[in-house]
């Protein structure tokens, strides 16, 4: 029977490309497909619209009746009453006067007001220092400024003798000199030297040297103590330090955890599992209360520095696990190709493995950064005046007793701007680094 069916077919011309039919595009089609696609989806769409309307109705009038010019909460309420902005709960309107009056304090804490220019300049310099790291179009030479920035920032914020900062930076030069000078003796000797020599210098050489130089040339600016630090300045100091330090440390611990060397692997696993298993707040209490017991007597170890160390360690443990996830996602062939070309371990990591693993981990890394930045508000529990701590202080003042929505909305909004920027940047970075053309 099959013999009677004609199976031959020859195409004589290839079909040209055509535009899609018009009913596959357009706004009406979009609405029908995305909002009213079936009964359940239509109900959900209508409920969502009602919820949005309800929220706007609740918050809208309160925002519309905002009062900016008032020196106290009671004065603000008088103005609201006079304007007729009243509902069944009493006056109904936002009293932003508290922000207007206290915003320098929310930014700088109890930093001396005649020195506000110092944190401001430091902040502007921070933007310049970060620019070349975030955007490749910025000239690479600016990276030198980025490298010098941490020392500049410490000097500008804490003040004091300029020699303290310069001699501290000298430790890094000693480390670098040891690394290059000892390179002939093998990687292990050079690395050990590069770590040990600066530590010994900071423990024994740093203080006498800076004291000596200060005695000879007493150059410096007015010192400001840590207890005066506060507000968003403090959040940014702790958050940025934690972010900048936790990424490289996280990479090292992630590699350590994958190492074949038992000792390195054990140390990494114990560190990561211990730090991740402990609440940040206990680490902060350790920093504020216990750390001094373990340090040599007489060392005055700055509280903010101690907090930075603890926050960094905490973020490092999370970072290490995020990056380990990225490493695990790389195909075995990438390691083999790098090996087969004769690249040694560190070159393979730097040129082949890490660029790909970090790219895969970007969402997780930025997630950790954002979490870390918001966690800086926990320092309020060890008596540091971060924005949340200042909010309590402001509300303790008789003029603004009873205010809370406006303060916390403002603080939340500032945090949101920082975190949302990080989120958008990470999406931009993912797009920029996308080379797989999937």
């Amino acid at each position: 029977m099959s013999d009677s069916i004609d199976l031959t077919y020859v195409r004589t011309e290839m079909l040209p490309e055509q535009t899609p039919p018009t009913n596959a595009i357009g706004a009406v089609r979009w609405v029908r497909e995305n909002l009213f696609n079936g009964i359940l989806n239509s109900i959900l769409t209508i409920l969502s619209i009602l919820a949005v309307i309800w929220i706007v109705m609740a918050i809208g009038p309160w925002l519309m009746n905002s009062i900016w010019n008032s020196d106290s909460l009671s004065q603000c309420r008088e103005i609201l009453t006079a304007a007729g902005s009243v509902n069944h709960e009493g006056t109904h309107g936002a009293c932003w006067g508290v922000i207007k009056e206290r915003w320098p304090q929310l930014l700088f804490g109890f930093y001396p007001s005649e020195l506000y220019w110092r944190p401001t300049v430091t902040f502007v310099m921070m933007c310049i220092a970060i620019a070349p790291i975030l955007f490749p179009s910025v000239p690479r030479k600016v990276l030198w400024f980025s490298a010098a920035y941490p020392f500049l920032a410490v000097f500008m914020l804490w003040g004091g003798s300029i020699w303290v900062t310069i001699t501290a930076a000298l430790g890094f030069f000693l480390g670098f000199a040891a690394l290059t000078g000892l390179a002939g003796f093998g990687t292990l000797v050079a690395t050990t030297g590069a770590i040990l020599i600066p530590i010994l210098y900071w423990l024994f050489g740093w203080t006498p040297l800076s004291d000596g130089l200060t005695n000879i040339m007493p150059w410096g600016i007015e010192p400001v103590t840590t207890s005066d630090f506060g507000g968003f300045m403090l959040s940014i100091i702790i958050g940025l330090s934690g972010i900048v330090l936790s990424l490289p440390l996280g990479i090292l611990f992630a590699l350590g955890r994958q190492s074949n060397m038992v000792l390195i692997k054990t140390v990494s696993v114990v560190f990561i599992e211990f730090i991740r298993g402990v609440p940040l707040i206990t680490l902060l209490f350790t920093a504020s209360l216990l750390l001094n017991y373990f340090l040599p007597p007489g060392t005055n170890f700055d509280l903010v520095l101690r907090v930075i160390i603890m926050v960094t360690l905490f973020a490092t443990a999370y970072m290490a696990e995020v990056i380990r996830g990225g490493l695990a996602a790389l195909p075995r062939g990438q390691y083999e190709a790098a090996d087969a070309l004769g690249l040694d371990y560190w070159k393979a990591q730097r040129l082949i493995i890490m660029p790909q693993a970090l790219k895969i981990s970007i969402p997780g890394i930025v997630n950790t950064f954002i979490g870390l930045f918001k966690d800086t508000t926990l320092v309020v529990f060890i008596g540091l005046m971060d924005p949340i701590g200042l909010a309590s202080a402001i509300r303790a003042n008789s003029a603004w007793q009873g205010i809370y929505w406006e303060l916390f909305i403002f603080i939340g909004a500032v945090f949101w701007i920082f975190c949302f920027s990080m989120s958008r940047y990470s999406m931009h970075l993912e797009r920029r680094l996308k080379t797989d053309h999937k």
Partner: protein, 262 residues
């Protein structure tokens, strides 16, 4: 299907010298308790083009991966270019920079452009200046006939193009020995020919090649020796004509009847 070029193959440079390139003696390897390579003895002279074939799981890939120590052997000796492979990492890196390797799945670096894929090892391992490395890279890209793809990324190329880039990447290190680990197994039939053509050209230039492949046409065209492996052992080796027309071992006969029988 015969995927080999119909053109005549230029044999003027295909000469085998007396110089030993690779010496493998009494080499054994285990994966855990599984004895994957058993008492391998093999001498490869410079200029030889060896095709290694055998059923899957016979240890042929493991064998050539031992030659640049992507796999460690536990007993016996492997000497490549006069350097013995041992746990000494310096020697291992030295051997690896002299021995090129092409993988079944190409293993190009997806985050780097084609040009950067090619110049990476010369710049970072050989310390070649960037400009010179790029010139060499373009030379080899022209050789594998895709210079116009230099600034694209691996993900934008077809499988056959990617494999040719992988070959060019190995050649940029000016290797003295090339290892091919099933270079055409992951390719569509249409693309196998372009990769084999590249490999034939390489053979014509006198490169020492060890090639794990099922392309028997390639073996007949350019190999000077075919090695048949089964169960981790070298079962038979011979020159191609004799190997295909007059296999001695029963195991070889069975294998050949299965792969050539249809």
């Amino acid at each position: 299907m015969n995927t080999i070029a119909e053109r005549a193959i230029d044999r003027s440079h295909m000469t085998v010298s007396d110089e030993v390139a690779i010496q493998i003696s009494n080499m054994n390897k285990w994966y855990g308790t599984f004895h994957v390579l058993r008492d391998i003895n093999m001498t490869v002279n410079r200029g030889e083009r060896i095709v290694i074939c055998g059923p899957s799981g016979s240890g042929k890939s493991t064998l050539i991966r031992c030659i640049n120590r992507l796999e460690e052997h536990q007993a016996g000796q492997i000497i490549v270019d006069g350097i013995e492979l041992s746990s000494d990492l310096k020697n291992v890196d030295k051997v690896r920079s002299e021995v090129g390797m092409v993988f079944q799945h190409f293993n190009l670096f997806p985050h780097l452009s084609i040009l950067d894929n090619l110049t990476l090892a010369p710049i970072w391992v050989r310390k070649t200046p960037k400009k010179e490395a790029e010139e060499v890279a373009m030379h080899y890209l022209e050789k594998v006939k895709i210079p116009e793809q230099a600034l694209k990324f691996p993900g934008q190329l077809s499988g056959g193009q990617q494999q040719r880039v992988a070959i060019a990447r190995s050649l940029c290190m000016k290797p003295r020995i090339m290892l091919f680990d099933e270079p055409t197994s992951a390719l569509d039939p249409e693309m196998i020919k372009e990769v084999l053509d590249t490999m034939i050209e390489l053979a014509e230039e006198g490169m020492t090649m060890l090639c794990v492949t099922h392309e028997m046409g390639f073996a007949q065209a350019v190999a000077n020796r075919v090695v048949f492996m089964d169960q981790g052992q070298i079962v038979e080796q011979n020159e191609p004509k004799e190997f295909f027309n007059n296999p001695q071992s029963e195991r070889t006969q069975l294998f050949l009847s299965q792969i050539l029988g249809h």
